[in-house]
Point group: C2
Amino acid sequence: MFDRESPVPMYYQIERYIEHLIENRNLKAGDQIPSEREFTDQFHVSRMTVRQAIMNLVNSGLLVRIKGKGTFVSNYNKIEKALIGLNGFSEDMISRGMKPGSRMLSFRRILPSTKIAERLGLSKSEEVFEIKRTRLADDEPMAIETSYLPVHVFPKLTEKKASPSLYHYIEQECGLLIDHADQSLEAALVTDEEAKILDIQNGSPVLLIERCSFLKNGQPIEQTKSLFRADRYKFMITLPRG
Amino acid sequence: MFDRESPVPMYYQIERYIEHLIENRNLKAGDQIPSEREFTDQFHVSRMTVRQAIMNLVNSGLLVRIKGKGTFVSNYNKIEKALIGLNGFSEDMISRGMKPGSRMLSFRRILPSTKIAERLGLSKSEEVFEIKRTRLADDEPMAIETSYLPVHVFPKLTEKKASPSLYHYIEQECGLLIDHADQSLEAALVTDEEAKILDIQNGSPVLLIERCSFLKNGQPIEQTKSLFRADRYKFMITLPRG
DNA sequence: TACATCTAGTTGTCTAGACATCTATACGCT
DNA sequence: AGCGTATAGATGTCTAGACAACTAGATGTA
């Protein structure tokens, strides 16, 4: 299970082991994990090495240490994730207790506009997928979402695969982990066409959200424009100070 | 300068020293800081202790380490702060390159509504300050801001002190450090009265932002409702993924 | 010139301890 | 019962090294 000859450092192997412990051994928030000494005996490494593993997990927010008592699974992490977390529409709706849905408006392979090409770091001759969908919550229109993805990043994308949850496809099927996203929010009025799709009156307000998602290396991989019905949607977030 | 007998741990003293180095020695983003060995010689502590100080600063985003090369002042930190940071209106406008301004609409000491009392964790008999202002950017109306602050937290608040920047007063004059804020954003239409104040047409869209600020211990100390002109204001943010 | 090798300096990983500080419990005394 | 003390066990701080891995520059050779 543990390989001292592996080029993977021991502290990193221990980190993954502790994460595994929490996921598979049903450790809930607040539960205590084994002490530093127990890990030292179990893995036959020095205490400083165990501490390096644990400190990394503390810094990532998974664990909390209390002097004199022990090390515990954090619960802050989940609150943080629920409020700050970067979620796709489906995850967002589920966390609000609503049933997400989707109705495809169009699925095309096109040359990007200047703005989209620039945001995605492409030349204007590199194709992108354009996915336009009506987003439903409890079977009623909630938003109009238009996503752009570089063809060279997602060569095998099809209409069917994109349908349920785009984020799920990107992360679970392509193995691309989104690291962060730049997002802007502004208020706007619907056009007549949009009002018809969203089933609201002409001149109603909508929340316009534009998002560009990046990998850890800074490569942009997705640009989405969403138009939310103001009467059904409020964007919630917790901002840390500094 | 450094006290080995102090109860303050050496690694912490070194952390503060490095921060001081960066601020006062004009180290810009990308500049290299002294090597671990140099700190070891300078402070007569072991290398592991120096590493503990440096790793803490790496985790906080101030430094970046490159194996085989050295340790450098980060630039990511500033971008992060500019986009994620929790700012008052004045700081926000300055970072957009505009001149912030303020026109007091009303300054009252009142009993809070049920909603405000609940948000601020007060009983309905505990008074709050209600501060209504027109917020200007480059001398033109940008937003209408209504803030509520518990009287028992800010007993000495006056109309004059609140005028330039509320956040400045809270943090610099009262010494209360805001830790985080819950914020909601939604789209709405202006009322006739608001349209007049903001100098826009009736039926124009506005971005409605509600914010409740908390201290580190979780105590709420400020609740603000802001109505931004949609034609002048866009909310920007960078969201980390988990 | 072009390329490989050596070397000094840096961060990365790890050890086997030491003593301090804090928590919770157990114990004994009043 | 109430109170202080002792103790075990946990994390916090720190040492004085060791070797590995990586970078960049100098040196030597074809």
